[in-house]
């Protein structure tokens, strides 16, 4: 009899704990970012024109051999402008090649954007209709991928990079990618 009297309180506490766990688990500000199923898989091949020399086609195969960071951006993307100084600082360390992926953009706008804010990229490929980006699971800009020297995607970030994400996620992932072979 005593025990069953406490039962409602116990159930209430259990529900409270469940709620607290839910709140705790949603503390991650990137909780809406989709985990990419492509991590650990070979990067999808692409053959896209260079933004600066449209007659030149750049394929994924050409980029292999050394790891690289692929940054999906566009001139219409406001968050990309927020991310730009961070990305520029990172690219200037010359730790790894940073490839730009100009997504669903007008060529003239993209060139003007780079002229205005500076071009941190080793090379920029232009995906005007966004077809190739579907294979990469891109659904917004900015997105950033880390591809190792064998062409396997090791890490992905959805949304603008900041110094903390580079130091705590990107660089360790790069170190792991380099150490594994």
């Amino acid at each position: 009899m005593k025990l069953s009297r406490w039962l409602p309180l116990a159930i209430f506490l259990a529900l409270g704990l469940l709620l607290a766990a839910g709140v705790w688990m949603s503390r991650n500000p990137d909780r809406e970012a989709l985990p990419s199923p492509l991590i650990g898989k070979p990067a999808p091949d692409f053959a896209l024109p260079s933004l600066h020399e449209p007659q030149r086609t750049i394929t994924l195969r050409e980029l292999r051999g050394q790891p690289f960071v692929l940054n999906v951006w566009a001139s219409w993307c406001v968050e990309c402008r927020v991310e730009h100084p961070v990305l520029t600082r990172f690219a200037e360390t010359r730790r790894v090649r940073v490839i730009g992926y100009d997504w669903q953009d007008e060529r003239a706008d993209a060139l003007r954007w780079l002229e205005q804010f500076g071009n941190p990229f080793w090379v920029v490929v232009a995906d005007a209709d966004g077809k190739a980006a579907i294979d990469w699971g891109v659904y917004g800009a900015p997105e950033t991928f880390l591809v190792d020297r064998a062409g396997v995607i090791r890490w992905k970030h959805v949304g603008p990079l900041d110094d903390g994400i580079i130091a705590n996620e990107l660089l360790p992932a790069l170190q792991r990618a380099e150490a594994s072979r």
Partner: protein
């Protein structure tokens, strides 16, 4: 009659307002009603990756538009619904499916409610049994 004349331009404007969101990008052209029905059934089963509480069929996001175009192309290439779903899952993850697949990782999700129902049934059976035993025990001295 005067009233109708007043109402007519209003109706025309209403039509223009409704048609507006579809104009920026050309809407998809379907070959026949069957294709359109299949497309809508498929697109409403898939989640938009950008605006995550809308289906691919409802969403106005650019990526949803692109993916709708991609789905129609895959359909015309003769791919089955399952193949098209797999195409999207391989790129965007299980998240795009409103109906998660039955596999080891989703067993709890699929069968959890049945387990809870079963647990409830056990509790009810337990209570009923204890009560019936208690009444029999109470009755015993009276009967003898």
């Amino acid at each position: 009659m005067k009233f109708a004349a007043l109402l007519l331009p209003l109706l025309l404007f209403a039509g223009a307002a409704f048609a507006q969101p579809a104009t920026p990008d050309a809407p998809l052209q379907f070959r026949d009603a069957a294709e359109e029905a299949r497309f809508h059934a498929l697109a409403s089963e898939l989640r938009c990756v950008m605006c995550q509480n809308q289906s691919l069929a409802d969403s106005n996001a650019q990526i949803a538009r692109d993916l709708r175009g991609e789905i129609l192309q895959l359909m015309r290439r003769g791919q089955s619904d399952a193949q098209i779903e797999q195409f999207l899952v391989a790129r965007y993850g299980e998240f795009v499916l409103y109906k998660p697949r039955v596999e080891a990782g989703t067993w709890l999700l699929w069968f959890g409610p049945a387990l809870i129902l079963l647990a409830g049934a056990f509790v009810v059976v337990g209570i009923v049994r204890r009560r019936s035993r208690a009444t029999i025990a109470n009755d015993e001295p009276q009967e003898w």
